[in-house]
């Protein structure tokens, strides 16, 4: 049952992510990213991390995707310009695309290395997984970091206001 669920969710996540890249319409890309996030959330549940799964939905699919959507709407790009000779010039195209390709390569190498290093080790043994454990650890052992987070959020709020304010003219 778990294995079946894993393969279904993994397939949904991978296919949705590929479609995000493949879409011309940025709006569809954002919506497909939500599908990918939901599938990831299911994978977190299978890993025994229900809190991370809930956070994935609440914060990523709920709030961060709204930000992405607003960025798309602020910039108002109806469709991406179709790249010409895309496959032929994957590494030889314009600056941003070449940069993206290099970045993707770095990620793949990094991922392969990480998987090789982690092979055979059990991840997360003894780490808090249930919401209760996280609560206790967060407030007992990491109380200061928790309070510091509120300062970080405060700074982010002030920063957003300052950046988006109207220039006095």
């Amino acid at each position: 049952m778990d294995a079946l669920l894993f393969w279904i969710l993994a397939a949904v996540a991978v296919v949705a992510s590929l479609l995000v890249v493949g879409q011309r319409n940025p709006m569809y890309s954002v919506l497909l990213l939500i599908v990918s996030f939901c599938a990831l959330s299911g994978l977190y549940v299978l890993l025994g991390a229900p809190f991370v799964a809930a956070i994935q939905i609440i914060i990523y699919a709920g709030a961060i995707m709204v930000l992405f959507l607003f960025v798309v709407m602020l910039l108002n790009v109806p469709t991406e310009d179709p790249p010409t000779g895309y496959h032929a010039r994957l590494f030889g195209g314009a600056g941003p695309r070449r940069f993206g390709a290099v970045l993707a390569l770095v990620f793949v190498v990094e991922l392969a290395w990480a998987l090789r290093e982690m092979a055979g080790t059990t991840i997360g043994r003894g780490a808090p997984s249930s919401v209760y454990d996280i609560g206790v650890r967060l407030f007992r052992d990491y109380g200061f970091a928790f309070e510091a987070t509120s300062l970080l959020i405060l700074v982010a709020m002030v920063g957003a206001i300052v950046l988006a304010r109207k220039e006095p003219s």
Partner: protein
């Protein structure tokens, strides 16, 4: 893991109902399209202009503030579950956390991020 079976069933029912309704109406419903019917419906008014207008930065600001308070609420769940064992220390920890964020909320409010009054949005 076991506790998530109801959620899975719930998702299945939700998706099934949505897909089922669309498919059934596709097969069972009569279809007599006319120019009037296939026009985009906007409260009975004739549609004007393009739906893809550039939006005001204010929407982004509201979304940003929403994200920050969403993160704040996310911290509430583990606290609420472990509340009884955390005792008064945990309570005051959270009160401090909240007070700092309420300061931010007052700041955002006073700066007028939620004002949608006089000036027209856009441009």
């Amino acid at each position: 893991m076991e506790g998530f079976l109801p959620i899975l069933i719930m998702i299945g029912l939700g998706v099934g109902f949505a897909a089922g309704s669309v498919l059934l109406s596709q097969f069972l419903g009569p279809r007599k399209p006319s120019a009037e019917k296939s026009a985009p419906y906007e409260c009975g008014m004739p549609a004007v202009g393009d739906a893809r207008e550039r939006q005001s930065i204010k929407f982004y600001l509201v979304a940003m503030v929403f994200l920050l308070f969403d993160i704040e609420v996310a911290f509430l769940y583990p606290w609420a579950v472990a509340f009884r064992d955390l005792g008064m220390v945990g309570f005051w920890q959270l009160v401090t956390f909240f007070l700092l964020l309420v300061t931010g909320f007052i700041y955002v409010w006073r700066k007028g991020a939620f004002d949608w009054g006089e000036e027209r949005h856009g441009r």
